[in-house]
Symmetry: D2
Subunit: 274 residues, 4 copies
Amino acid sequence: MIIFIQCTDQVGLVAAISRSLARGGFNIISLQEHVDNTENLFFIRLEVDKNTDTESLATDLEKILPTGALIKINPRPLKKIVVLVTKEYHCLADILVRNYFKTLGAEVQCVIGNHTTLQNICERFDIPFHLIETTGDAAASEQSVVEIIDGYDFDYLVLAKFMRILSPNFVGRYPMRIINIHHSFLPAFAGASPYRQAYERGVKLIGATAHYVTNELDEGPIIAQQITPAGHSLTVKDMVKAGKEVETAVLAKALKLVFEDRVFVYKNKTVVLE
Amino acid sequence: MIIFIQCTDQVGLVAAISRSLARGGFNIISLQEHVDNTENLFFIRLEVDKNTDTESLATDLEKILPTGALIKINPRPLKKIVVLVTKEYHCLADILVRNYFKTLGAEVQCVIGNHTTLQNICERFDIPFHLIETTGDAAASEQSVVEIIDGYDFDYLVLAKFMRILSPNFVGRYPMRIINIHHSFLPAFAGASPYRQAYERGVKLIGATAHYVTNELDEGPIIAQQITPAGHSLTVKDMVKAGKEVETAVLAKALKLVFEDRVFVYKNKTVVLE
Amino acid sequence: MIIFIQCTDQVGLVAAISRSLARGGFNIISLQEHVDNTENLFFIRLEVDKNTDTESLATDLEKILPTGALIKINPRPLKKIVVLVTKEYHCLADILVRNYFKTLGAEVQCVIGNHTTLQNICERFDIPFHLIETTGDAAASEQSVVEIIDGYDFDYLVLAKFMRILSPNFVGRYPMRIINIHHSFLPAFAGASPYRQAYERGVKLIGATAHYVTNELDEGPIIAQQITPAGHSLTVKDMVKAGKEVETAVLAKALKLVFEDRVFVYKNKTVVLE
Amino acid sequence: MIIFIQCTDQVGLVAAISRSLARGGFNIISLQEHVDNTENLFFIRLEVDKNTDTESLATDLEKILPTGALIKINPRPLKKIVVLVTKEYHCLADILVRNYFKTLGAEVQCVIGNHTTLQNICERFDIPFHLIETTGDAAASEQSVVEIIDGYDFDYLVLAKFMRILSPNFVGRYPMRIINIHHSFLPAFAGASPYRQAYERGVKLIGATAHYVTNELDEGPIIAQQITPAGHSLTVKDMVKAGKEVETAVLAKALKLVFEDRVFVYKNKTVVLE
């Protein structure tokens, strides 16, 4: 069972928490903690050996922890997700394959696309695919996404190369539950056509960034980033191709971290306890 | 001997150039070429086995190459450089050590600093150190740099963590001859305090960029870039420390490429023929 | 059209080859060459702009090149492959997905497995799956592989985590046409259970190696290698998991290089002209 | 103050230790722990906010920890080291520079060399250099090393490209106190001429390994490893050059970890708590 605590830092927190666990008969299998001294915040992720008596543990922890502590005990081990896509297959296919072989750490509930391009691959894996219209106004099209996903129980929305900007209204419905893969090494090349921007700037490395979606475009808390070399011999097209490999890898890594409940969010940043 | 050609692309350039070399009795040891199809530009770097008869080769090449071709034959193999510094030692010390053991590919003529911090290390390696005043106005201080370096024969000015912005007037005197190391993965975090910016943005990788200096701050052609992981556990200070290792490595790599005449510049980009 | 030449090195080869191309009306789009001075061997890969008159070009090149030159003109652009698997899905699924979206650079003719585990994923992608018996002797089982693949036209056999050792007799039938992915950074940890070996040795990085199969186990010419960090916190199981990501990436990269005719083999090594 | 504990794993160790610290008035600033489930071993590194009352803390910890626990409280923060070299400068110069600018985390007491090549650079940094004779037998030469270092107070011997094999007798005198940099990605290419071995095997990556020296040549516990790309275009000489950059970086990283008391050794492996 996973326990996850974020609170104001204080003297003796580890002692207090571990005593509380011992009282409840929980043995610590692994423990990662982090203190942000600037913000005076304490973060801890614990893996313990039993998953019963969680209510009395919660009550006990609430007593000993500072006011306002965020305590998460035993989050759902196998997450449920909805995936949004446009036309590019690489991230979606990677998710579908891991889902099919049960190594994703989550179950794909359905895929929503604004083109039919990826419908067939979903059907091959028996995953429901919902096509949304994009001919009308953006609000109407977002509304149809909301209607579809409201029919599902899910923990996270994964934007696997969904090439539309979501409205503040939509984002506000799912705070820190929407994960995006952006095809640049943010904050470099936010917005449209990052590979073209990278090509024109003549960078020697290109990258990808997985982040939570907030109302500031490409400005949400970063979960994972990676890069790949990009010399002068790469055209924009070549960069797009090379970039896809990094995008797939970075999104896979970020999802793994999120699904294993290793990611805390605060101040538009993440703490990743591995 | 190195030969270096940049010109409009045309059919048959490799054939024409290699025929011209054969006529002159030059045998090709190695050859790297690149064509930028968007700009219709051709770049070639050749290593040949003799370094005589360069004038007749130049005449011959000029005849067969398109008008406006840039031809560089037998550039000075061991470059001469002047290094500008402020207080941080890491890049300078790396340059001084390689210079001392004759593995830099260049000879350090002198070091110019706007603080005395690095005077002693220069003296230990018998390299002249010139202190420039920074109390007066920037123009006066730049003028004193010009006066010092005018006393030296040099190919490149290396800004090894020189923390001042050079004026267009100064930069214009040495076009594509000033090399800077910037402590971020450009174009992310241009300007001041890139590590603080990186810390505040919560990035998961930090980097460094070696580039030619132009009049646009941190916007010149990029020669080399590299990154290092930067998780949540790093404070700004830790990032500065980790960053220094990358800065040293990236500047060393860029200098090697430049000193070996492997870097072409065009359209605010570089072609690096390795 | 691709042209690919390997021969004894001589003065004037580039000039002679480019003249021959010019005579035939072929314009060079890109050119990569390499000289191994120790072995006195010359390698060149050219991309030219027309794919007719290949026979007269071949005749012309034979005349000007040293005796024994290996000349390959216009190899089949879209390769055909047969994939051999056991139970692990990651490399196979990556190949099937790229094949399905036509980004593999090859067409998968069929998959041969010695377990039924991966039959279903093949069927989902409409790729024939052949199950071979492994209960009898190894020779019989290999013979059944031969019988199956003899029914297909193919350029390469890809061992995508095929966990059996092939006999010299089998390997001899397809020289430099069998590509394997080995789950270690060769030559470290050849043979069985490389991740267990890596765990026991306490290495800080683990890797994967794609190579041509020869009669020496895990000793064939290496095409591509990559690594991933592996700290003390990884169990053998964790290493296996982390390793799968690298294996998939390395095999994908090696196949791309091979399918684009960028890999020369000599002296149990490869020259990769990118 | 650093506290460092290695013992048999038991239920409630973190609680017991943190309680003991709270009793003594020590507040935890940072904590990293690791459990090796296979060996049933527990490792913890703590940074606490005061460095007095260490004796009563030791007594208290001994009471609550399993028999045989290894407890290290407040190890010397600034280590003292002796460096052994042969002719290559890169690792030594890096150490001398960091030592000079007080960023090494240790103080270089002296350098011992079996050639005069590096004497001058030591003198430039005012570090005593001792030349040992290597003309006689190996035992005599080792004996002279022992005599020199016996004159110094030191925590670690650093072999910064010391190209001689030390006898079991010598190694036995300084258990887990001798750190070596080996110029390959161990266990690949142990022994002599690793770059030549790498060249001949045709690997696509080369590396370096920092490890504790034991009586098995190049078989001691690994502290850090890193790699760099090595394509077909590199000669053995080029590999040696490229390798030096990695060797310098890997040794610097390993020394940092060791000097900050982050490295535990058990079963010929290390646990590195960062």
